[in-house]
């Protein structure tokens, strides 16, 4: 028996197949993972992501703490509500976790980190925070819902309190607004428009029920994985971990080298790696042959071997796609060893699908 979110009973009564995810009993799907995937690409779906770890950062040292902790630059969050995707690195520039940091107000920030890495993340945050005038508070009391899809905001807007509705609709991507205990961010993990809403238990349960009543399709972790893979979004523990730096995880864009005076953890190791030159890169693969690419399979390129980090079936493209770590010099054509057979694949630049549209050209 794992941990349960406050919505667990609702998942069961909605017919969810429950699976273990990082110690949590979570819905894999509610009947059809493929239908749920298409609902998010075509209209609107809602995910219970209350298992994710929310940590509020408060105190005069909040900004300085995050400037030390994060590889991206917290000072980009000039506006209240602004959000930032970043990795936190260890001293050898391995990725401890990826997260989103939001500026709540002044030196107060909210971090959302992965559920499966909760314990080590909290330990790491506490360790780094010891040098700063800052207080950390895990918000395990809150529900988090991701409402995603081209119709998500329009459908869910009437379900938000009056005090936050207009501001939520006006949010640019990666911005948030908070009022009356509600927190609404224009973020997600699907490659579609939508909101992630963090709120207390009772209104959270009501919002879930209201979403379903409004025709928003409940979606499980299965669809969440195929949607994020099509969107080319990395999954911690699969596409990167503590043995991989953001530079070889296609996350170089999240590292803020400027200002050079900002001494974030891992900077030295990362700088050394940059000077040595890259030896690996994370790319997208589209399988030309039939079959399904899976995590861990060998990728054979003209520049040496690589590995599939995330693979599966793309419901939108109706073929297998993958993220793979390959030698930096690898060219367009490669082969993937699937169940002892070599299958032809093509190296592409993710994302594969965004906003309902396939971005990879057929060859």
């Amino acid at each position: 028996m794992g941990s349960k979110t406050p919505l667990y009973d609702r998942h069961v009564s909605a017919g969810a197949k429950i699976v273990d995810f990082g110690g949590w009993d979570m819905p894999l799907h509610y009947g059809s993972q493929l239908d749920e995937h298409h609902a998010v690409r075509g209209s609107a779906g809602v995910f219970d992501v209350s298992h994710m770890t929310v940590v509020d950062v408060d105190g005069a040292g909040g900004r300085d703490f995050l400037a030390r902790l994060l590889a991206n630059n917290i000072d980009k969050l000039t506006a209240t509500g602004a959000g930032l995707y970043s990795c936190m690195l260890n001293e050898t520039a391995g990725v401890v976790d990826d997260l989103i940091a939001y500026r709540l107000a002044g030196d107060a920030y909210r971090l959302v980190v992965n559920a499966a890495t909760r314990d080590k993340d909290l330990a790491w945050l506490e360790k780094v925070a010891a040098d700063f005038d800052v207080a950390l508070a895990e918000r395990a009391d809150l529900i988090m819902l991701a409402i995603q899809g081209p119709n998500a905001c329009a459908t869910a807007a009437p379900l938000l309190p009056d005090s936050i509705r207009d501001a939520s609709l006006a949010l640019p991507s990666f911005h948030s607004v908070a009022a009356d205990g509600w927190f609404v961010a224009r973020t997600g993990y699907t490659g579609e428009d939508g909101w992630e809403v963090i709120l207390p238990r009772e209104p959270g349960l009501e919002l879930w029920d209201a979403c379903l009543a409004a025709g928003v399709v409940p979606c499980g972790l299965g669809a969440r994985d195929t949607l994020r893979l099509e969107a080319g979004l990395s999954l911690y523990g699969q596409d990167m971990d503590e043995t991989v730096s953001p530079l070889s995880a296609a996350l170089g864009w999240t590292v803020a080298w400027e200002p050079t005076t900002r001494d974030f953890i891992g900077r030295q190791a990362l700088t050394a790696e940059k000077q040595r030159g890259k030896n690996a890169k994370l790319v997208g693969l589209v399988l030309a042959d039939r079959g399904i690419m899976r995590h861990g399979q060998r990728v054979i390129t003209d520049a040496g071997d690589g590995e599939v980090t995330s693979g599966g079936f793309s419901p939108t493209m109706e073929r297998s796609i993958a993220l793979a770590r390959v030698p930096f010099a690898a060219n367009t054509n490669c082969q993937v060893e699937i169940r002892k057979a070599l299958r032809e694949a093509r190296v592409v630049r993710p994302p594969f699908v965004r906003n309902g549209k396939i971005l990879i050209e057929e060859t």
Binding site: K17, L28, S32, Q33, L34, G291, I292, F313, P315, R339
Partner: protein, 131 residues
């Protein structure tokens, strides 16, 4: 509760076998198997005719989650495969005992059929393996 038709024989690996009037056998995976695998997105059946021994991996069924081998429940010569599955692997989910059949064999040792379970034994086998 998954379906287990009375007229079929079952293997411990969750394949079913139907003996046809001409003595050939049709092979597929059970309702229980398709339900635990989840929605199928790819099915691979042998491209060439050949002899299969009982226990040989003779097909691959891949769901949104994972890939699984299908093992020949009896030995025999491959007579036909279900070509519809190449475009519609979901037939295995929607109709595991009919349109979702995988392959047809001419059994080389009909005695092997007797080693398979009947519907009652398979239902009990499922109950025991879930207990």
């Amino acid at each position: 509760m998954s379906e287990t038709p009375e007229n079929l024989r079952y293997s411990q690996d969750h394949e079913w076998v139907r003996v046809e009037d001409d003595g050939s056998v049709v092979v597929g995976i059970t309702d229980h198997a398709q339900e635990s695998l989840g929605e199928l997105v790819y099915v691979e059946v042998p491209e060439e005719e050949g002899e299969l021994l009982k226990g040989d991996a003779c097909a691959v069924v891949e769901s949104v989650k994972a890939a699984s081998d299908v093992y020949a429940p009896v030995s025999g010569k491959l007579a036909a495969t279900n070509e519809a599955l190449s475009d519609s692997p979901e037939l295995v989910n929607s109709s595991p005992y009919d349109e979702g059949w995988l392959l047809r064999l001419d059994p080389s040792d009909p005695a092997e059929l007797d080693e398979l379970m009947d519907a009652g034994a398979y239902t009990q086998y499922l109950a025991e393996s879930e207990a």
